[in-house]
């Protein structure tokens, strides 16, 4: 029951997002989306501010936050690469391409490279099965991954 501060930068910016959505029906998801957009991730402190503002428990908010894989608990690298790990891409050699990518970028699943250039994430189907194996770099889909495309991706994120 110590004093909760509402005047840190994270709290102030989070509250601004909360205010936008407070009166919406089911405001928690739009608020989490907004906070992730605001900070690039959802800071712990923001979760607490949201809980207090919506009169929910910390557990309530954390449960929702942790359910969705797209919410981050820490900042991502400058680029985010999502690689499809679902059935079609696996059938088309996706696992091997994924291993090459990990090697080329020097980063493991859910990791961010040391230079902060890129974050690698698995994704379960981009709906791009016709062009398997597929990936998505910073929101742009990339189809038919092969050695060459991997090289291009590596070059782009290091640029």
């Amino acid at each position: 029951m110590t004093m909760e501060r509402n005047d840190t930068e994270i709290a102030t910016r989070t509250l601004a997002v909360v205010e936008t959505w407070r009166d919406a029906e089911g405001p928690l998801l739009p608020i989490l989306n907004g906070v992730q957009k605001e900070f690039g991730y959802v800071p712990d402190e923001a979760l607490q501010v949201i809980a207090k503002a919506l009169n929910l428990s910390r557990a309530d908010v954390y449960g929702v936050f942790s359910f969705y894989h797209d919410y981050r608990d820490r900042p991502a690298g400058r680029h985010v690469l999502k690689v499809c790990r679902a059935e079609s891409c696996q059938a088309m050699g996706g696992d091997e391409m994924a291993d090459r990518l990990r090697e080329a970028l020097g980063v493991d699943w859910h990791g961010t490279s040391r230079d902060g250039a890129v974050t690698l994430e698995p994704v379960y189907c981009l709906g791009l099965c016709a062009c398997s194996p597929s990936a998505m770099l910073d929101g742009e889909v990339v189809g038919r991954l092969d050695e060459e495309r991997i090289g291009e991706i590596a070059a782009e994120v290091r640029a």
Binding site: M1, T2, M3, D44, L47, Q48, A51, N55, L56, S57, R58, A59, D60, V61, Y62, G63, S66, F67, H69, D73, R85, D108, W109, H110, G111, E121, P122, Y124
Partner: protein, 967 residues
Amino acid sequence: MSLIQETDYGTPASRAEKQVTLTVDGKAVTVPEGTSIMRASMQAGIEIPKLCATDMLDSFGSCRVCLVEIEGRNGTPASCTTPVGEGMVVKTKSDRLDAIRKGVMELYVSDHPRGFGEKAGTGASEFDHVISLVGLAENRYGVEGRNHVEAHGGIDGVAPGHGSLTIDYMVKDESNPYFTYDPSQCIVCSRCVRACAEVQGTFALTVEGRGFESRIVASMDENFIDSECVSCGACVQACPTDALREKAILEKGMPDRSVVTTCAYCGVGCNFKAEMKGDEVVRMMPYKAGKANHGHSCVKGRFAYGYASHPDRVLTPMVREKITDPWREATWEEALARAASEFKRIQAKYGRGSIGGITSSRCTDEETYLVQKLVRQGFGNNNVDTCARVCHSPTGYGLNTTLGTSAGTQDFDSVEAADVMLLVGANPTDAHPVFASRMKKRLREGAKIIVIDPRRIDLVRTPHVEAAYHLPIKPGTNVAILTGLAHVVVTEKLYDEAYIRAYCDWDAFEDWAAFVSEPRYSPEETARVCGLDDPELIRKAARLYATGGNGAIYYGLGVTEHSQGSTAVMGLANLAMATGNLGRNGVGVNPLRGQNNVQGSCDMGSFPHEFPGYRHIAIDPVRKIYEDLWGVKLDKEPGLRIPNMLDAAVDGTFKGIYIQGEDILQSDPDTKHVAAGLAAMECVVVHDLFLNETARYAHVFLPGSTFLEKDGTFINAERRINLVRKAIEPRARYADWEATQELARALGLDWNYTHPSEVMDEIAATTPTFAGVSFDLLDREGSVQWPCNEKAPLGTPVMHINGIVRGKGNFVRTEYIATDEKVGLRFPLLLTTGRILSQYNVGAQTRRTGNSAWHEEDRLEIHPHDAEDRGIRDGDWVRLSSRSGETTLRALVSERMAVGVVYTTFHHPSTQANVVTTEFSDWATSCPEYKVTAVQVSPSNGPSEWQLEYEDLSRRTRRMANVEAAE
């Protein structure tokens, strides 16, 4: 004595009136519409295996073990989520069902320590039971691959969760002092999450992640102790595995026998099964059939019973000549003889009225009855008082004057029908947690609450509950605000004229209505007096209470412990009568009693002017009942109240006292005055579990017994007479009632009770409101609420139905008179006091349990503005001074407080908050004004002079005589 097993019907009972008949495995069963198939089967004696269902929680349908077949329907629906239908034909056993259930259990087991051949947990959980129920004998899946059991390995899979490679294993959380969370045994059925939400209403648990990564976590994946968890135990009780399990059970094993008894902490009066192994209580399990708690508990009753076996307990009587002498151990015979001869000597020298006794709200009705009988019959005077003097005496006076009974009007279940709650001067989530959970549940269902309290207590805003209005009045202005609310009710004609004309004294109403309508009680004036910014809030609150449906008033010590405590209680009763909120379910005026048996100790004639049942001692026919029975002439003059006893002691006319189970030095106001009074006495007999603070001034110490060590009854805040059953033998030879009887015998009285039931028989024979009560009846019914007599053989849940007990409800003018305790230049802040969840009153019990993990010291809550003005930061030592005295403690800077108001608890003797409180008290009942003291707060380096002196005194007065070493 065997272990009591309560049937788990799997889903809650339906309240529908319409009955439905179905057949389950060929057996016809009739149940209310809306009942689940699972519950209906269990009622027919057919147990369907289940994991995620339990009857304290709504059905969920996730474990897929409770499947059944229904004739004419496809598939195998879950019996917990499928309601019964007329003529339905259900099969709970078939080869197909067997195969499905086994398959599901096999999957569970393949990711559970059992499947790994590990011996974890008790081996006696519901999970283990279901495994044997479905006859699972193998685990064809093996234990290779990802799992939650092994600390190492199992990392081939890639998790889409947090972190890179999945480490599915989570370490055990042992942070809570009473229970362990072992995630490897968890099956994520979410019973704990739902118990925390539905039953307790704290919402501290959640499911983190999804799919294989789903894990139960507290708050934001925090240790339980750091999380929002309040340690009520509901999750541990709900867990079907050993993932959440009491540490005591893991250490000592499962209990082998149990008795149903009643918790000895607050006035909610929860029933528990005291579960034992050998001679030791290993667990307190909330009793589902308990009518006050319906199977719920709080951290105190559920876990904080360790004081009963704490090494500090004194188990041998002790005596000494002077309080500066060291204590010397004595036999019971010697100690009792000493007490008796001293009392006789004092009476011979100083007169019959020079001694007295204090009964305890912690002890049973029977024990209290015997102490007042000892005083009246044995001492020959009426110098008997009780600790209720310092808490709820204004309730007795106020409700008796207006309604004609000295008790709350409803049962707790009534809250389920309340539409608007008016909560005044009470903090139920801390002081009455189990009832607070019921309130919160009702509030989540849509009821509204108005909070009148200087502090922003939890019920003002806590997850999923928010007060419609919070009136943060200045301490000491209750009467003004209540009269202000009445002003709105009357001037806006929101009163229920039909009710008033039918059941109340119309002349008294008109007089009162004219009085409250005076402009000086207008919302504007009231807001000014009470320190509220917005007068409209008063109007809105009054309108909501008067017109929002069933209005129920709940109040606590924040109403009674004032110089106008009795007036405020009458103000509440006035409001209830004026709005017709009496005499049915969902309404009423309900005191939240502080201690387990405050109600009982008052009912049992603990006051110097009243016999049991609130009958004045001056009434000749009443006195005759006892004179005939006890064979003595009884004094018709009221005796001394506690403060008067102390005054008389300081004056030299009161010299001896028998104090059962109360620590007046720590709990009564103006500590220095209490100390001076006790020091002036020649024989102080303290009868307690521990060498408490009062015992520093004692000459004879008699060891007490805990509630686990005796039979008897407690009466809770809803007038419910609950049985206390002996779980273990008294550790110090005598239960308290026996010790009192021995003292009476030493004084020459011919008492021959062999069991507390005989005392209750005497109470029933002499007290009309208890006429029908007997231990047999209580044993049969579980509990009853008084009045229990010919008219109401099974007791009275709701009072004043079809008429107010007094005859006609009496409206009383409630003139606001500001307390003499005023802030000024020297003492510019108002101090108010209260409790915290994990500790209880003076803390003698809870401080001697693991509960100290949550509250190791009393802190002074202060608003950031007031703190900043004084250069005080959170955690600093501060000096708290009033015109009575000063003490030091650490500050807690908090926005819960209004500017100008500070708050502390009184759980720790080293703080001695009552050094600061004053001698002001309620005009009618002398209940001390704990809730208002003008104080100053300043930075400090260490303990006050009083604390240092006291430390020294403690050391000197607690010495034991050296026992000579055997040669």
